[in-house]
């Protein structure tokens, strides 16, 4: 069903070819520039908080692929604000498919996948450049980290978008957690102040997207001595976050009262 709806959307985007190509190009460029910023930082210093360029590139790659997966398949849930505002959310409720799945397929944008290719390439490059043996265990852990990371990002998207059922004009707050979370997860958690670190571990679990699992995968030490088991807690965190995500989305939908027009 999802595939079918998505195909229709891609066909419609393709009607404006030049713009579509420019958009896909620029999405790829955005990701490239993000990475370029990291490269620029390392043109000034050899190590950032004890992490080499290859190691930060690994964080970037893991976070980037996880984010891109969430961005491609789930981030469309953001449009709920616009639908609530215009009263067009009704149509998602009367059709015999779940509203979350519908909205994600309805606003599907293939161009977002440009980020996936880009981040994936940098992840593979970083894995080659990082010193150390890639045992099957570490490879498996990397794949699992990317997947759980994308689940965490998706859950954050659903949670922050659900706010639209209460207030429609504060959508930009969501960017702090999604884009801000992606930005933060590209860097070693060590660089951030204690309060921001605590938030990223305990409240908005961005630290589990790339940094904490990477401590074990890359055999790094955290300077503040976080317990080692946190490296393996990402799947549990992703599962736990599902509770508020479901709750908020459901409560939001139940609360929804069209525009009355």
């Amino acid at each position: 069903m999802y595939v079918h709806l998505v195909r229709a959307r891609v066909r419609s985007d393709w009607q404006y070819r030049t713009s579509f190509v420019l958009f896909t190009l620029s999405v790829t460029l955005v990701t490239l520039l993000d990475f370029l910023a990291i490269a620029v930082i390392f043109s000034n210093i050899p190590r950032l908080a004890g992490w080499s360029l290859a190691e930060v590139a690994f964080l970037y790659g893991v976070a980037g692929v996880a984010f891109a997966l969430g961005d491609t398949f789930v981030s469309q849930v953001e449009y709920v604000a616009r639908h609530v505002k215009q009263g067009t959310f009704d149509r998602f409720l009367v059709r015999p498919v779940g509203p979350l799945l519908q909205i994600c397929a309805d606003e599907f944008a293939f161009r977002r996948a440009g980020k996936l290719v880009q981040s994936g390439a940098i992840l593979v490059g970083a894995m080659v450049a990082v010193h150390g043996a890639w045992t099957p265990g570490r490879l498996l852990a990397t794949a699992a980290t990317v997947l759980t990371g994308s689940v965490i990002f998706s859950e954050i998207w659903v949670i922050t978008s659900s706010i639209a059922f209460w207030t429609v004009d504060t959508q930009e707050v969501a960017n702090s957690f999604t884009y801000g979370g992606n930005y933060m997860s590209q860097y070693p958690l060590d660089v951030f102040g204690p309060w921001l670190r605590r938030l990223a571990i305990g409240v908005v679990p961005i630290a589990f997207v790339a940094y904490l699992p990477s401590l074990w995968i890359l055999d790094k030490n955290d300077s503040i001595g976080l317990p080692a088991w946190l490296s393996f807690a990402a799947p549990a965190v992703a599962a736990l976050l599902l509770v508020p995500a479901r709750l908020l989305w459901r409560t939001g939908i139940r609360r929804y009262r069209s525009t009355g027009s």
């Binding site: 958009f23 620029s26 460029l29 520039l33 210093i45 950032l48 702090s176």
Partner: protein, 263 residues
């Protein structure tokens, strides 16, 4: 002149009605300010000074540049793009006003509101947590205000040209996004241009986008004094003239081929 002043005033007032959105924007800018400030601090812990920037200047830069984001309209297009796509632009062309000047006034009103509502608060929030540098010399404040105003106009002139591409492409998203990406990077928004490698730094500082963020904040940090400020103003004004002229040329070409959507 009076007409354009009124247009700017209305635009200022219109933006001031989006209170929740403004609050949300300030929140996001502040969060990004903190993330960027900590990353810059980690860099400067390893190397105390990089091409005229030190740790306290860099943290000031992080929060100031976040405040500049909305004001410079670096994300997104002028509403003009949408009016071109829908064909509404035709009624704009009928009116006895100059299209470029009308949208310039409109954008200046928007920027004026956002300077106050989106520019100042993230800086104040950052000031609660970090020691930020604030100029004490009134001349520096005056120079900063001038360079920032020209910067907004340069940003407008660039986005105006980008918007006009809708006449040919009929969909503004591609060119808008591409233009934003380039502007964000070369304005010094993603990273201060001071950190750019030697091969690119002089070029990046000479391009029009440096007028958005890098140059005004350099003035704010007091890195240009006396006559040196004139150099910055001259560079910004030169780009403003070139881009406004380019807008005129493209507009002339566009109006010759106006095809009203569905008309």
């Amino acid at each position: 002149m009076r007409l354009y002043w009124e247009v700017a005033r209305r635009s200022f007032r219109r933006y001031s009605t989006y209170r929740a959105a403004t609050f949300a924007g300030v929140f996001t800018n502040s969060v990004f300010g903190f993330i960027q400030a900590y990353i810059l601090l980690a860099i400067f812990r390893t190397r105390p000074a990089i091409h005229g920037l030190d740790a306290s200047a860099a943290v000031t830069y992080a929060f100031a540049s976040q405040g500049f984001l909305a004001m410079m309209g670096a994300f997104g297009a002028l509403e003009l793009s949408e009016r071109i796509r829908t064909g509404d632009v035709v009624s704009d062309l009928y009116r006895p006003v100059d299209l470029q000047r009308y949208w310039l006034a409109n954008d200046m009103g928007r920027a004026g509101f956002q300077a106050l509502a989106r520019g100042l608060p993230p800086f104040l929030v950052g000031g609660l947590a970090f020691h930020l540098r604030v100029p004490t010399d009134p001349a520096v404040w005056a120079a900063f205000a001038l360079c920032t105003t020209i910067g907004v106009a340069v940003s407008f002139a660039f986005r105006f040209v980008v918007s006009l591409s809708t006449f040919w492409l009929l969909d503004e998203r591609g060119p808008t996004q591409l233009a934003s990406v380039i502007a964000l990077f070369f304005s010094g928004f993603i990273l201060p241009l001071n950190l750019f490698p030697d091969g690119i730094r002089p070029l990046a500082r000479a391009l029009p986008w440096a007028s958005y963020v890098q140059l005004p904040i350099e003035v704010f940090l007091g890195q240009h004094r006396g006559g040196a400020v004139l150099g910055v103003v001259a560079q910004q004004t030169a780009w403003l003239a070139v881009l406004l002229l380019a807008g005129r040329v493209v507009l002339a070409a566009a109006t010759r081929k106006v095809v009203v959507q569905g008309g």
